[in-house]
C-alpha cells in the first residue's frame, strides 16, 4: 500500500485535467496534492517542495513532460523521484522515449481511478523492492 500522505505534484496545462486527476487521487485517499501548469512551473515547485511523486502530462507549452522528466533525472536532488507520465495515446516510439528518459510508468488517457491506483501501486512496489 502506498503512503497516502506523500506529496503529489500534478502537472498539466489544462486545468480541467489537473482537476480530474486531483479528484481521482483524492478518491484514492491521497491528501496532499499540488498542481503545476507546465514543466517549467513544475520544476520550480519540485525544487522547493518536498514532493514524493509526480504525475505529468506529456504535451505542454514552455517545458513538456518529457523534458521535465529529463530535468528531474539529471538533477541529483530529485533524480529518484517517481514520475508517472500521462498521454492520450500509447504510441510505441513515445513510450520508448519515455522509458529511455527514465519514466517509472505510463498511463493513457482516459483512465479510471482503479487504473491510476494500479499504476501508482506498481511504481511504489518496484521502488520498495
Amino acid at each position: 500500500m502506498t503512503d497516502l500522505k506523500i506529496k503529489i505534484l500534478v502537472v498539466d496545462d489544462f486545468s480541467t485535467m489537473r482537476r480530474i486527476v486531483k479528484n481521482l487521487l483524492k478518491q484514492l485517499g491521497y491528501e496532499s496534492i499540488d498542481e503545476a501548469e507546465d514543466g517549467e512551473q513544475a520544476y520550480i515547485k519540485l525544487q522547493n517542495g518536498n514532493y514524493g511523486f509526480v504525475i505529468s502530462d506529456w504535451n505542454m507549452p514552455n517545458l513538456d513532460g518529457l523534458s521535465l522528466l529529463k530535468k528531474i533525472r539529471s538533477d541529483p536532488a530529485m533524480k529518484d523521484l517517481p514520475v508517472l507520465m500521462v498521454t492520450a495515446e500509447a504510441e510505441k516510439d513515445k513510450v520508448i522515449t519515455a522509458i529511455q528518459a527514465g519514466v517509472n510508468n505510463y498511463v493513457v488517457k482516459p483512465f479510471t481511478g482503479e487504473v491510476l491506483k494500479e499504476k501508482i501501486d506498481k511504481i511504489f512496489d518496484k521502488i520498495s523492492t
Binding site: 486545468s15 479528484n23 520550480i44 504535451n59 516510439d93
Partner: protein, 649 residues
Amino acid sequence: MSDESDEMEEIISEFITEAEESLDRIEPLFVELEQVGEDKEMLNDIFRSMHTIKGAAGFLGYQSIVDVAHTSESIMKKLRDGEISVSTDMMDVILQAVDMLRILLGHLKDHDGIEEDVSPLVRDLDTALVNAISARSDITPTALDEAPVSAEAPDAVPVEAPATIDPFAAAAAEIEAIDADEPKGPSMSDDALEAALEAAQAMRDAETSTVEEIKHDIPAAIKVDPPENAQAPLIAKATVEKAPKPKDKPQNLRVDVERIDKVMDLAGEVVLVRNRLLNISNYFDQKYANDPQTEILTETVSFLDRVTSDMQLAVMRMRMQPINKVLSKFPRFVRDMSASLSKDVELEIQGEGTEVDKTVIENIGDPLTHILRNSIDHGLESTEDRLAKGKPAKGTVKINIFQKGNQVVIEISDDGKGIDIENLKRLAVQKGIMTSEEVKNLTDDAATDIIFMPGFSTKEVATELSGRGVGMDVVKTNISSLNGYVEITTEKNVGSTFRICIPLTLAIIQALMVEVSGLKYAIPLSPIEETLKVSKDQIENITGQNVIVIRDKVCPLFELNTLLGLNYNGDKSSNSDYKHLIVISMGEKRFCIAVDKLVGQEEVVIKQLKGIDTTSSYVLGATITGDGKVVFILDVGAMSRNLLGSSKT
C-alpha cells in the same frame, strides 16, 4: 453523494469554459496561418489545444468531442511535422471542426441533450487529410495506405543500437518482441507497456546500480542529449535564484462568477455603509470638534474610506478581462465575410489587451459584430469601385481599443465610401421613419443616427450577411444597456468610424448629487464636462429652445424638473437669480441640464430597478446615499438620445 456530483458538475463546467477558451485562442491562428504560411509554433499550439480538449473530453465521456478533436489533432500533427502543407481547403475543414466543437460544447452547456452526428465531419476531415497527403508527391505509399487518423509516425525505433551495453535499447527490443503479437499499429497495449517497463527496470537493476552509472552508459548508444545534461546545473542555478519569489509565475485560480459577483455586491454594500459613516463622522467632526474621540472616529473612518476604495478597485479588477476574448473571433469572421462578399479586407486590431468588465465582454460581442459586418458590407466599396477611385484594392477595417479616463473607447473604422447622408435622409422619408420636414432640420451628425433607428437598412437589397435592418438598432440598445453610447463620424470616400464609449465598471460609479424641486438625484460623473453657475438673464431662448452660450458655443439647456415631469416649482432656490448648470457631453453631443442645487460628489452603487423604462423615465437605477436615502440615478444617455437624437436647433 451530492458532494461528488457537485464536484462533477463543476469539473464539467470548467471543462466547457476551458475548452471554449482554447478554441477562442486558436481560432485567430488559423487565419494567421493562411496569411503567414506554415508556422510551426502556431501549428503546434493548435495541435496541443485539440489534443488537450480530446484528453479531458475522454475522461468525461464525451465521445463526439473526442472524435472531432482527435481527427483534427491528427491533421494538425501532420501539418506541424511538415508531412502535409497548409491549404485553404484544409483550414476550412478544420475551422468546421472548431465550429462543431463549439456546437457540442454549447449542447453540454445548455444541458439540452442534443446529439450531433459528427461522422460526416470526421469523414470530411479524413478526406482532406488523404487529399493533402496525395498532394505531396514525396510521400511513401505505405503512409498513404494508413493515411487517415490512425496514421502516426512510422516505426522508427532505434532498436539497432548495440543491446549489450545499453539496457534501454534492449528494453525497446523487448517491446518489439512483445508487440509482435499485437495488431499492427502504433499503439501499444497496456500489457506490452508494462512488460517493457519491467524489462527496462530489470536491465537497469542488473547492469548498473545507480542512475549516475546508467547515464554514463547512455550517450554511447542512445541520444539523451548531453548538452541538456551539461546545461542542467546552469538552469538549476537560475531557478534557485528565482525561487524566493514564487510570484514570478502568475498563479491562476478559477472562481465561479457568482462568487465574485457576491463579493462585488458585498463590496457595494460596504461602500454604502462607508458613505454613511463618512456623513456621520463629518457631523461629529463639526459638532464635537474638541472631543479626542471624534478625532479617533475621523481617523478610523478615513482609514476605512481608503481601504474601501482599494477593495472596490480590487474587486473591480477581479471582474476585468482583456477584451481580446471578444476580438479573437473577428479575424475568422472577417475572413469568412470577405470571402463571401468577394471583397479583399484587412483587419487591424489595436489595444486588444485593454481590460473591461466581464459584463462588457459578454455584451459587446454582438454590437461589435454588427458594426464590423456593416463596415465590411456597406462601408467598404467593391474592389472594382475602389480601384476606380484610385484606392488600394484591399479595404482596411481597424478596431482600436483604449482606455480614456474611466471609460473604455472602442473605435471601428473603415476606409470605405463613407455614409451618404443625403441618401440616408431620402431613405428615412421613403421608409416612413421620418417626415420630409423632420429630415430637413437634421444636422449631419443627427442624420447619421438614422442608421440606428429600428427597421432601417441602407442597402435596398439586404444581403445575406447584413440581414434585414435588424442589427444597428440593436447595437444602440445593447450599448445603452452597458451605460455607454455610440456615435459615428463619416467622411465621403474616406471612411466611417463608429466610436463606442463604455464606463469601465458598471456597478459602482462616481456621481454628482444634485437637487431639484427639493428632491435629490444622482448624475453619473463620467459624461459631465463641467458645472456652471449662471445668472438667469444669461439664458437665451431661440425658437422655443432655451440655450446658453458657453465660451462662444451655443448649448441647448433643459430644466431637470421639466424633464422629469416635476411640476412642483415653488422651491425657494429656483426663484434665485442663479441657475446651476451641468454640462453633459456624450461624444459630439453637448447639452446642459439646469438644477436647483449641486450637493456634491459621491460614489454610488447602482442597484438596478426592475420594470422601469429607462428611456422614457430617464432613470438608470437607484442607490442609497450616505444619509441613508434612496436616490434615483439619472440616465443622461437616454436624455441625450431623446432630446438631441433626431433634431437640433
